[in-house]
């Protein structure tokens, strides 16, 4: 039958094409023969990131930042050539554990970087303790990583939900108003950011009159916005990420609240990832950010220029997380003189370095980065949102133990 033969032929062509395409994509992650151990000339760094779904842009940002640093340093960290292997955990702890074993036991990576999701980092933490391998947490912001789940092998270069929620509270209480309604999605990160905000807001004399927790992936925030507007608060403080964040900000404007009730936000509301697609709708939001491409320091100016040249877009907080992960590893491996975990963790505890965000010190009590936060108002200029820094909150930390237990 001619039709069947033609179908088989095009089927074979498609299979050949697919094999060709997957073959090409393998050159992205390199495999090699780097020896494990302290004194060899190459280091293998394994990345466990979420490259599917809404976490994909975060992973891209982190990898871009890390690779930029490598390019600026001749592909070396601590004087040793670096090979990167990236694995996708699909934001699923079970998958992450599988990829972890692949990276650590089969590929024999020296150091790990990642993950995006807090549920994954909690799953990895016990394994990393057992295998005594250093994990640089480039994003996951769960508070417990600094408290009950703290590990000598895990050091965070991003920030914690506590820092994110608490940084803007004092400014908002002193300058905008003392009566707030808070909103966040109904999941652990949302709850952690809000409880930190509440503590800090109360400490500054404010009062949270209502808390609303819409489900993740809510289409429509109108009922929550209406309920809030009816209470006539001085301000609304909200934490939303990803497409939820974009929808919230857009609907805040669409339902007439922009300009009527001041909106305060966690750092996401001042970050490129949300301000770029929302544009004008994000104007006027006061966010406690820890990075903006407009921060006025020498390292940032160089970083933004190099990033734009290489990637043709502005860096965001995730790009900086990746860049800083490379910075911290470079410094630690140089000072330790090796990639042996025991030597590295001695240096990593309490290490300080300069980031495009400002100066950073890893707090030895929490393994969490002490960093500056900036109170910024989103301004709409030349068809883009530019967060204008009005106050710097220096050296934001988090408590040494959980104040909630």
């Amino acid at each position: 039958m001619k039709k069947l033969r033609r179908f088989k032929a095009s089927g074979l062509i498609i299979i050949a094409l697919l094999l060709f395409i997957t073959g090409c994509s393998q050159t992205r992650s390199s495999s090699g023969n780097g020896k494990k151990g302290g004194e060899s000339d190459t280091i293998k760094i394994g990345f466990i990131l979420s490259q599917t779904g809404t976490f994909a842009p975060l992973s891209d940002g982190i990898l871009n930042g890390f690779k930029l640093y490598l390019e600026e340093h001749d592909g070396k960290l601590g004087g040793k050539k670096v090979q990167i292997k990236v694995e996708d955990d699909e934001a699923n702890p079970q998958v992450a554990l599988r990829k972890y074993r692949q990276l650590v036991h089969s590929e024999k990576v020296d150091i790990l970087v990642g993950p995006i999701s807090s549920s994954v980092v909690y799953a990895l933490r016990d394994e990393v303790e057992k295998d005594k391998i250093v994990l640089i947490d480039a994003n996951a912001a769960g508070d417990d990583l600094a408290w009950s789940k703290k590990s000598d092998y895990v050091y965070r270069t991003s920030f914690s939900n506590w820092q994110n929620g608490s940084s803007a509270a004092k400014y908002l209480a002193n300058n905008i108003g003392k009566k707030a309604v808070v909103m966040a999605p109904d999941y652990p990160a949302g709850k952690e950011v809000i409880r930190a905000f509440k503590e800090a807001f109360k400490a500054a004399g404010g009062e949270v009159v209502n808390e609303l927790y819409p489900k993740l992936d809510t289409n429509d925030f109108a009922p929550y916005l209406q309920e809030t507007a009816a209470l006539e608060p001085d301000l609304i403080y909200a934490f939303f990420t990803g497409s939820d964040g974009i929808r919230f900000v857009t609907q805040y404007k669409e339902f007439g609240l922009q300009g009527k009730i001041p909106l305060g936000g966690a750092l996401e509301f001042g970050d490129e990832l949300i301000t770029q697609p929302t544009g004008e709708a994000a104007e006027g939001i006061i966010a406690g950010i820890n990075y903006s491409p407009n921060l006025d320091n020498e390292i940032n100016k160089k970083f933004v220029k190099a990033y734009q040249q290489k990637y043709n877009k502005l860096p965001n907080i995730f790009s900086v997380e990746g860049y800083d992960s490379a910075t911290i590893l470079d410094k630690a491996i140089t000072e330790a003189g090796s990639t042996e975990s025991a030597k590295l963790i001695k240096i990593l505890k309490g290490i300080s370095f300069d980031s495009p965000r400002g100066p950073i010190t890893i707090d030895p009590e929490t393994n969490n980065p002490i960093q500056n936060f900036y109170i910024a108002v989103n301004r709409y200029q030349n068809n883009a949102i530019v967060p204008e820094v009005i106050e710097t909150v220096e050296k934001v930390t988090m408590p040494k133990t959980s104040p909630f237990e």
Binding site: T52, G53, P57, P223
Partner: protein
């Protein structure tokens, strides 16, 4: 009370969006008996293509037309190169279109990046109407209106035009239509292109409403499949009713029973299938 009213309107708007994409899916299913699991990805493609046009300073309406045209062309290419070889073979169709959806989705990610994007609401519709003490975005009313217009267009095409008659006949008895000298293959390519164009259209209209992000294709595919099943395979009228029902129930559900909202939608599907196993307006599948 006005919260309920606002949510009802929002639900209808989302419902109309689901109708637009489900209509394409159900027409392809009804006329050609083809399960097109790449439909959600065509929806996504439409949105991203419009995004590129709009980023190059093109006006929303022109971008809309061009996107629909482009996705329709994609439909023609897909049909001529791949789909027509699997007519009548359901398993092959599922595998083929499912695989296509992965390839297309990754291509979109490769060409446009993974960052989330939005389509701007066109200037004319950028504003809100006040209902008492709430403001309601005009764009959502526009989506409802557009959905109604589309329904009218489909009705007219089906009931009053020759091509509509050919398609209705083709659904009933393909061989007879072929025997009458009507080029059935040509009609099928046209129908697939039309369905693909509808998917692209709903992608562009949905862009300002739900945004654009990786994974949007599988989400919308699941919803449109449910709508098609509830409405009846092949019946666009059924899709209209099903879509509006789902839109309303899903939106109201998210407000009043947030943890149960997905469950309620599937429950609705179950109830409809128990009462009317062929969907609300479906017919006995031959």
């Amino acid at each position: 009370m006005s919260i309920f009213f606002v949510q009802l309107l929002t639900g209808i708007a989302y419902g109309m969006l689901y109708f637009m994409i489900a209509a394409g899916l159900t027409i392809i299913l009804g006329v050609m008996n083809v399960v097109n699991l790449a439909h959600g990805t065509l929806f996504m493609l439409g949105a991203y293509i419009a995004f590129s046009f709009i980023s190059n300073e093109l006006n929303f309406w022109l971008a809309l037309l061009l996107s629909v045209f482009c996705t329709a062309i994609c439909g023609v290419i897909l049909e001529k190169l791949l789909i027509k070889y699997v007519y009548g073979k359901e398993l092959e169709q599922v595998l083929l279109t499912f695989g296509l959806s992965f390839i297309l989705a990754d291509t979109v990610e490769w060409l446009w990046g993974t960052e989330m994007k939005t389509l701007p609401v066109p200037g004319l519709l950028d504003g809100s109407i006040s209902f008492g003490d709430t403001a309601f975005p005009i764009y959502r009313l526009f989506v409802v209106l557009f959905g109604c217009l589309l329904a009218l267009l489909l009705w007219y095409l089906e009931a009053r035009t020759r091509i509509g008659a050919i398609i209705r006949a083709g659904v009933d008895d393909r061989e007879m239509v072929g025997a009458l000298g009507i080029p059935v293959g040509f009609v099928f390519t046209g129908v697939f292109a039309f369905g693909a164009g509808l998917a692209g259209l709903s992608g562009v209209l949905g862009g300002p409403l739900i945004g654009m992000y990786t994974g949007m294709d599988s989400e919308i595919l699941v919803t449109s499949l449910i709508v098609v099943v509830i409405g009846g395979l092949g019946s666009w009228k059924g899709s209209l009713i099903g879509a509006v029902l789902i839109g309303i129930i899903e939106t109201l559900g998210k407000v009043w029973f947030p943890s149960l909202s997905m469950l309620i939608v599937f429950l609705l599907m179950m109830v409809v299938l128990i009462i009317r196993p062929n969907g609300l307006l479906g017919r006995e599948v031959a």
